[in-house]
Structures are given as structure tokens and as C-alpha cells.
């Protein structure tokens, strides 16, 4: 009787311990491995221009303005959801080439850009101002591509003393991840 009871107790204890030891004789952990592959950024001109046409100098200083929707439009393509940084700067324009060909006095003008974004919308609606150095997200176009439409207008101050001629300059818009 005693032996039978002892056997059961020892069996019971050993069962508890062996189960416990078995449960802790190994361990395992999962660790996620992650990487995001980005397609290179591209930017193409959709249309428009920054041609302010002709302006006749008067006795009053004037600011000639082109609204972004009437200016030039660019399409940026990249990784959907990813932010890009947009940078640009004021442009100094000059009439040097015109003076070289026609004579006259050299002069300078400053083009102050006004850049707006319509996100992934390729029509001019819901536009928001984009400052230089500002960050804008690329919208998912549904095919795994991120899109961003940028619209550039701006203004040029013309003084009463501005020299005549054809003024040119180059506006550079840069986007980067």
C-alpha cells in the first residue's frame, strides 16, 4: 500500500518536473527583416511656361505676376507615400544678350517664384503653397507609383528706371527624397 502510494507520488513529481524542464530546454525568437526599395525620382514638364510677355515701362513701379495655374506645371514620380523635399530659389534675370545684339544698357530683374502643389491631382484644384525646402508627400496613383504635381508662377518687380531689353533667366526646381 505504502509502496504503491509512494510510486504514484514520485511519478507525479517526476511528471511535473520533466514537463517543466522540457518546456524550458529550448527557446526561439522571430525578428522581422525590412527594407524599402524606392524607384528613382523623376520630374517631367507637363506644360505651360514662365514667359511674362511684354511690359511697357511707365512712371510707376509695377509688379508683374503670373499665377501658378497660368505658369508651368511639373509632374514628379517616385515612391508612393514618401516625402520629397522641394527646393528652388529666386532667379536673377538680365538683358545682356539683348544688349550685346542691340546695344543699350545692361540691367537686372529678379524673378520671385511662387510654387504650389496639388498633390496627386493633375488638375489645378486644392493647391497649397510649397516653400523652398518644404516637404511634400507623393500620392499613390494606384499602380504602385507616387505622384506629385507642382505649379510654378511668380512675380517680377519692374522699377521706373529698369533698362529696356529682353530679360532672361533660368528657374531650377529640385526634388529629392
Amino acid at each position: 500500500m505504502i509502496k504503491k502510494g509512494k510510486f504514484l507520488i514520485v511519478f507525479f513529481v517526476l511528471t511535473i518536473f520533466s514537463t517543466s524542464l522540457f518546456a524550458q530546454s529550448s527557446a526561439s525568437l522571430d525578428e522581422p527583416v525590412l527594407i524599402s526599395i524606392l524607384k528613382g525620382l523623376s520630374m517631367t514638364k507637363v506644360g505651360g511656361d514662365l514667359d511674362f510677355g511684354e511690359y511697357v515701362i511707365t512712371n510707376n513701379a509695377q509688379t508683374i505676376t503670373k499665377t501658378p495655374d497660368a505658369g508651368v506645371n511639373f509632374e514628379v514620380t517616385g515612391f508612393p507615400g514618401r516625402a520629397v523635399t522641394v527646393t528652388y530659389a529666386n532667379v536673377t534675370m538680365d538683358n545682356n544678350a539683348w544688349v550685346a545684339a542691340n546695344g543699350g544698357t545692361n540691367g537686372n530683374l529678379t524673378f520671385v517664384p511662387n510654387v504650389e502643389s496639388t498633390g496627386g491631382n493633375n488638375t489645378y484644384s486644392g493647391a497649397a503653397n510649397v516653400i523652398s525646402g518644404g516637404s511634400v508627400n507623393l500620392s499613390n496613383d494606384g499602380s504602385g507609383l507616387g505622384k506629385l504635381y507642382l505649379w510654378v508662377g511668380g512675380s517680377i518687380d519692374v522699377a521706373t528706371t529698369t533698362e529696356q531689353g529682353d530679360y532672361t533667366g533660368t528657374f531650377t526646381l529640385t526634388v529629392a527624397y
Binding site: 513529481v13 529550448s26 526561439s28 522581422p32 526599395i37 507609383l145
Partner: protein
């Protein structure tokens, strides 16, 4: 641990009382019990996140050194050997991302690189850990310890489809 000690004590007293009650029928039995420290594997920090990479027209590699990857510690019986198994090559895919965003499905291979620093929790004198090999848990104040460091490299094929790629690296230890 306390429960186990209590249980053993309980049964010793229980047996003693039974034997005492019989009075005329004594029996003795050697009792032996080895308390074994359970094996544990714990993540200490870091990760295996390669961040972002550009897909170009040429294949290239991105590398995370074990020092800058994920850190683990194995705890168990001092000086006891354990077997370490891990996923040597992990296949990542962008399927979940493509399902939600669109685009082309793709796969990538991550080749893991595991190193050990014994009981040293800093990355000094690291040695390679080979998959399936046995390594000793070093004695640290009576506790067996082994620090593991996981990095690796990933191959980005030419024109690799864009997306967020995910895979799972599994690390296992056993006595």
C-alpha cells in the same frame, strides 16, 4: 522555483508522516533532484531594418554589420553547451505592399550573419556563429550567458520592383 521547492518539501513531510504512522515498517530512499536553469532567449535591442534603398539598373548590396543589427542574450546553465539554429537565408517579398498600393511583385534574399561575444554584452572579440553548431554558455556569476549579434546583407537586383519588403529571421537555441 519556490513552488517546486515547496512541492518537494511537502512530499518529504508527507512521506515522513506516513512512515511514522506505520511505526514498524521503515523504509529509506535516496532522493536526488537536479534543478536546471531553463534556457531563455531575449532580444536586447536593435533591429534588422535596412531602411530605404534606390532601385537602379545595376545590382548592389546593402549591409548591416552584426554590431549594428539586432542583439540577443541567451541565458541558461553556466558552461552548458547549446545548439544555435537560425535562418541563414530569409526571402523577403513586397506582396503585402503591392496588395495595398499596387505595382510589381518582387522578392529579395537576406543572408544573415550571426556573431557571438560570449558573456560580454559589448561587441568586442566577436566570433562567428555557424548554423546548427553548439556553443558554450559562459559563466557569469553562476549564470550561463551568451550574447548574440545578428546582421546580414541583402542583394538589390537591377531594376528591383519598388515596395516595402518584409521577411522573418528566426533564431532558436536548445540544450
Amino acid at each position: 522555483m519556490y513552488f517546486k521547492t515547496f512541492l518537494v518539501a511537502f512530499f518529504v513531510v508527507f512521506f515522513f508522516n506516513i512512515l511514522k504512522a506505520q511505526n514498524n515498517n521503515e523504509i529509506s530512499e535516496d532522493i536526488h533532484l537536479s534543478i536546471v536553469k531553463g534556457l531563455s532567449l531575449k532580444k536586447l535591442g536593435g533591429n534588422i531594418d535596412f531602411g530605404e534603398a534606390l532601385s537602379t539598373n545595376r545590382k548592389h548590396w546593402k549591409i548591416i554589420s552584426p554590431k549594428n543589427g539586432a542583439r540577443f542574450v541567451v541565458t541558461g546553465i553556466a558552461n552548458r553547451k547549446i545548439t544555435i539554429n537560425y535562418t541563414r537565408i530569409v526571402t523577403l517579398n513586397n506582396y503585402a505592399w503591392v496588395s495595398s498600393v499596387g505595382g510589381e511583385r518582387g522578392k529579395m534574399k537576406f543572408i544573415s550573419h550571426v556573431r557571438r561575444t560570449g558573456k560580454n554584452s559589448t561587441y568586442t572579440n566577436s566570433k562567428r556563429v555557424r548554423n546548427g553548431r553548439r556553443y558554450k554558455l559562459q559563466n557569469s556569476n553562476g549564470i550561463g550567458k551568451l550574447y548574440l549579434w545578428v546582421g546580414g546583407r541583402i542583394k538589390i537586383n537591377a531594376n528591383q520592383p519598388a515596395g516595402k519588403y518584409v521577411g522573418t529571421f528566426t533564431l532558436s537555441v536548445a540544450y
